[in-house]
Subunit: 479 residues, 2 copies
Amino acid sequence: MADSKKMVEQITSMEVDFAKWYTDVVLKAELVDYSSVKGCMIIRPYGYAIWELIQKQMDDMFKALGHENVYMPLFIPESLLQKEKDHVEGFAPEVAWVTHGGSEPLPERLCVRPTSETLFCEHYANTVHSYRDLPKLYNQWCSVVRWEKTTRPFLRTREFLWQEGHTVHATAEEAIEETERMLNVYADFCKNVLNMPVVKGRKTESDKFAGAVATYAIEALMHDGKALQAGTSHYFGDGFARAFDMTFTDKDNKLQYMHQTSWGTTTRLIGAIIMSHGDNNGLVLPPKVAPIQVAVIPIASHKPGVTEKAAEITERLQKRFRVKCDLSDNSAGWKFAEYEMKGVPLRLEIGPKDIENNQCVLVRRDNREKVFASLDNLEEDVEALLETVGLALYSKAARNMEEKTYRCTTMEEIKSVLADKGDGFVEAMWCGEESCEDEVKAQTGVGSRCIPFVQEHLSDVCVCCGKPAKHMVMWGNAY
Amino acid sequence: MADSKKMVEQITSMEVDFAKWYTDVVLKAELVDYSSVKGCMIIRPYGYAIWELIQKQMDDMFKALGHENVYMPLFIPESLLQKEKDHVEGFAPEVAWVTHGGSEPLPERLCVRPTSETLFCEHYANTVHSYRDLPKLYNQWCSVVRWEKTTRPFLRTREFLWQEGHTVHATAEEAIEETERMLNVYADFCKNVLNMPVVKGRKTESDKFAGAVATYAIEALMHDGKALQAGTSHYFGDGFARAFDMTFTDKDNKLQYMHQTSWGTTTRLIGAIIMSHGDNNGLVLPPKVAPIQVAVIPIASHKPGVTEKAAEITERLQKRFRVKCDLSDNSAGWKFAEYEMKGVPLRLEIGPKDIENNQCVLVRRDNREKVFASLDNLEEDVEALLETVGLALYSKAARNMEEKTYRCTTMEEIKSVLADKGDGFVEAMWCGEESCEDEVKAQTGVGSRCIPFVQEHLSDVCVCCGKPAKHMVMWGNAY
């Protein structure tokens, strides 16, 4: 067990330094690596396999709702980016500019897409003519670039992978419905696939996406009490449509502007998984996105028949699960620590005694609970246990969120709860004025995360100015 | 049928203007669209669905051979690109340069990756230490940028989608084996999935990838007799390893350089499909990459029960195939032309008479052959027919290649065969000197495509200089 201890010791404890713990986990679980490209990350096989599992399952949900994938150019001409005033103001300060092709200066600068609204707008303006062409429900999986100053793997990098949905509709109602539908898809995905509870809400005016009428978001709460925006869905009204001349002929043969949405999630979700479920032994992966769901580890593998039995069990289980059998000459203890670090939901141990008894040992990653399982109906036991692990991860994360959600009615209360308990979701009433939003941030340090869809009536008045309250806002520090 | 004729007439006949025919097909089958981003293309849902089917099936082949997917940064610092001399000379003239992040000039220019050898080299240098870490078999799916002057959708665009495999090995033998293995994977994929025959061969010295010891390629022949390079596989020896200090400790505890390969295929494959199988009615898609394999079209759909039966058949078939049922109020004739244009391998017609007889009509896209099929075992008939269509596409393309392959022993013969018959694969002997390669090109207009693995002995002497011949070379014009 010496090796095992050594490996575990390499991770900084999250209670000591949460940021360092995070970095230790992403590097030692071999999710990412740094390169000489400042602010960008290399996503290594184990990290990319998680992303592929996220992609596949989310893509299936999109397609089941009639969305189609497309691919738009990586570059946006400066003049195209500038067509919608708010949008360019929001993004221009953080884009990367291509100025030369080969040795020639370009006639017009091109930005590397930070998001593709402008390209989709131009395409829809060119290809949608009649109400019969609507709705168009497009999505693309790609990478985007935003020239961030401070970067951290998965959470904030100059380049990241994402999906961006862009849809156009004949009516505002349909577009709003789509905006809400996709937010719900994200929330369901977080719950059912990532085992991560989220709060659904609307962003305040000051926090909207550049060019949007309304921005909806899902907010998750990390171990350290900080919020993480896990997905956004925007309703654009016909603002972009007017700027890009996106019109169609309606049933009465009248020219109308299209109504538009966009929505996105990114490789941040992997950061959210790490900080929602991980512990001081490393990653803890939700079974549905775990590249390895079961690690099969032979015990006393020099004894006759053990290796063979481990291989046989692996072959059986591989028909239904993602399984890795580790027959390397590393010690069992080293292997235990290795697959704990990598967050594998179940460890299957099989040794001579187990073989005699026609059984094996299944150990859960999330709570280290051990059970003996008969080899006769192993598939059913593994399936049930993976399901149980997923539900347990969700419960634990939901409990963390509940325990770290603080309902406050005065500024003093906000300050004292943050001072006493540290970061979390602070719920407090708000009059709707931006000046009060700024004042709360200035006095308490926490910004508005969203106006939750599920509202509670905590008091009649704004926590800041004392005037009549319009909404309950969720405040907090965020990644 | 008026609509149908009109639509068909919109495509330029390939005999009249092959280039125009190609452009008509890619636009009218809605594979791509242009945008204001010069030299880049928008891949529309139907085109992207073909790419997704290519990706999925090729990715499965890679993974079955132990390859893992990763994601490297989009950008390469200028100094990193410059580390391998031949490589930078080959690529620097055609890269896009990022010079500004937001409003700040960058301390060092970044190129948008034209290919990622340099990034993989750096990563392998950092992460591989021992022979136990080898081989590393990585692949990535991404987009790359090369600042081409003349562009055509799928065939040559400033940005294109591709996969790039990058592997490192302990010995030269293993690396050469991998290089050949992956070329065979590509050739098998072209044959079995795209129904497209290819010639496997080695590139001449002058035509190698920048930095490679040897470049292998598969060459396909288009309808118009021009060659299309459909995939390449490179053996690097330890050239990059020396430039990037990529070393490992071998079993005898000695420091060794790694041996390296890379291999790639791109969205060009879609161009190859179009020009291998398409006809004057539009696309003809190989069944395995057809987004719609069966188009179900109700005949006389106003008659009672027809629409319901069409929907019922569709639901049945969708369990095994990619099926679209067109219940729109367009005429049957319009629908026939539409799905022919889109290259759907099978059309299923169902009308009142068919329902009475418990049958339907299946029409092949490739030769318009009609058969009646009983509804009782429709799945089996559809499956068999899709298989037949795939084989027929392959036979037809192989016949085209055979008919357009010309064996020549003199320069005059090359000139006259090209003058008489037009483009094709010209096979002729070569002494191995670059001067003769250049001379053949100068005199006949055709360049060397590859030195085929399967060699024929056409004569003892070089077709150009008359000195002893070393290889049979395949010459031709290429996309």
